[in-house]
Subunit: 316 residues, 2 copies
Amino acid sequence: MAKNYIVADVGGTHIRVACFPIQSQKPTIVKRIPTKGQDSPHLRLINLIGSMNSSVDEIAAITVAVPGPCDPYEGIIYKAPNIPSWVNLPLKKMIQEQFNVPVAIGNDANLAALGEWRYGAGIGHHYLIYITVSTGIGAGVIINDQLLLGVRGLAAELGHITVLPDGPLCSCGKQGHLEAVTSGPAIAHWVEQKLGQGASSSLTMDKPLTAKDVSAAACQGDKLAREALARAGTYLGIAIMDFLHIFNPSLVIIGGGVSRSGESLFEPMRTAMSDHALSKKYLEDVVITTCALGDEVGLMGGLALAQSLDTLSPCQ
Amino acid sequence: MAKNYIVADVGGTHIRVACFPIQSQKPTIVKRIPTKGQDSPHLRLINLIGSMNSSVDEIAAITVAVPGPCDPYEGIIYKAPNIPSWVNLPLKKMIQEQFNVPVAIGNDANLAALGEWRYGAGIGHHYLIYITVSTGIGAGVIINDQLLLGVRGLAAELGHITVLPDGPLCSCGKQGHLEAVTSGPAIAHWVEQKLGQGASSSLTMDKPLTAKDVSAAACQGDKLAREALARAGTYLGIAIMDFLHIFNPSLVIIGGGVSRSGESLFEPMRTAMSDHALSKKYLEDVVITTCALGDEVGLMGGLALAQSLDTLSPCQ
């Protein structure tokens, strides 16, 4: 019988589940449903996995990328900001009881790092940092070919390092974290504040701004929009330089919507990196790049996790 | 014939070399000489190792803790701030050619982390951070029972993360690094600046101040001295919270002279950690402690490195 991995990628909006034959990187089936519906999201997920089950011969393992911090050892989701009912949810156990096969879960940004390392921009690198700058900032780190997890699986929260001790409030409620300065909403909020103070710009407060609006205005040469992206890029650069001092990786992969702002963001980022580098050596050996796997990164990370289960603990 | 490890700890002032029987944690011989003399420091080191050689039956391996960034894979010292002639010095090769046994070198703070993990405060922990706050700030990180090295061995430079983007100049020439705010000289310099601005204190500018003077004055209730340590402690706390978000360790070991300032430093440090924590979970599972091995930490780290050589690559 042909063996398959079932890989799920759960977002705040959609759940996707794919079936990969164990020797393949191409899914034979991919199904997608909205995360929210009549049943609770974890029942919807389990039902969707079940609907795959009936179409494949045998399941070798099931993995799930979850949108929030989790304990990958115990398989418990601590909290998923976009799925309010998922607090301390023992998802691994729930799925295992249903299907009786090896199950593993991982934070989506952590698994994205694993996916890029195994199948994407990070192939061949032993030390890499993946950082996605979007509504929030997610990250994952590969050290010596292993995903950095920490004692409770809470490591690699690179978006929550403090870059401006007295800076703006972060989504987590604390002050001055990178996410509070460089995420999409943070960039839009900074522009709105400046407009409120009477700054002149092609941007207006007629409707709530997004980082995409700011990025588009910057492309058109809007000075305030450029300043906003330069500020975000500068703090991103300071933070990335911190990560280079901390991890000395050979690759930094930057993803997420904000990273599509281009040179308005990246040029000040590179300047800040150079301005804060302890030594040129940190910059000589590192490549800064964008992600290669696009929307597939969650599924490919889940596939890499499933394969590592097979290799590392076949009896799990 | 009895086999021995020869372990050297090179500082800016002294070179110490110890001989450990391979099954023992107690050296049978320890010799110490000044680092500087008629010969160049690496010749003095090699001669001292040679003088051990004649007194022991057989050398299983030689390790050296070096006072600066180095490439532990190639065994090259990039730069030793206190030994100006050590720039791109291929120390491993030099020692290997002389004694024809396995040789490994490591940054002293990295090896201190390894020593504390194997023999000191970190026994039983799988993820720990060691940070020593003194004239500079050195650090080492254990992840999943392995020393964090990075692609060129330059990782774990925790003292050079930026905590105050527009802050004071660091010893490395860049602005606002943790070392520029929390090291001993940085604390003393801040007090001197305040005295220069007319701040009242029991401390005076009659002679150059040290962090030890500031610490003593703080113990006596001096307000300016307490403020200086509170400032240093606050930024140390912000940085340590960054490291908890990044590594999610179960242990943080703080060493170095500045850490002897006690609660004047640690109370504001803990407050800052709590103020910047993404979630209480990061603080629930972590113990903050002081180092256990004192002045022996370099030699014990070198011993742990020698033992890992034996285990990991017996044919090296």
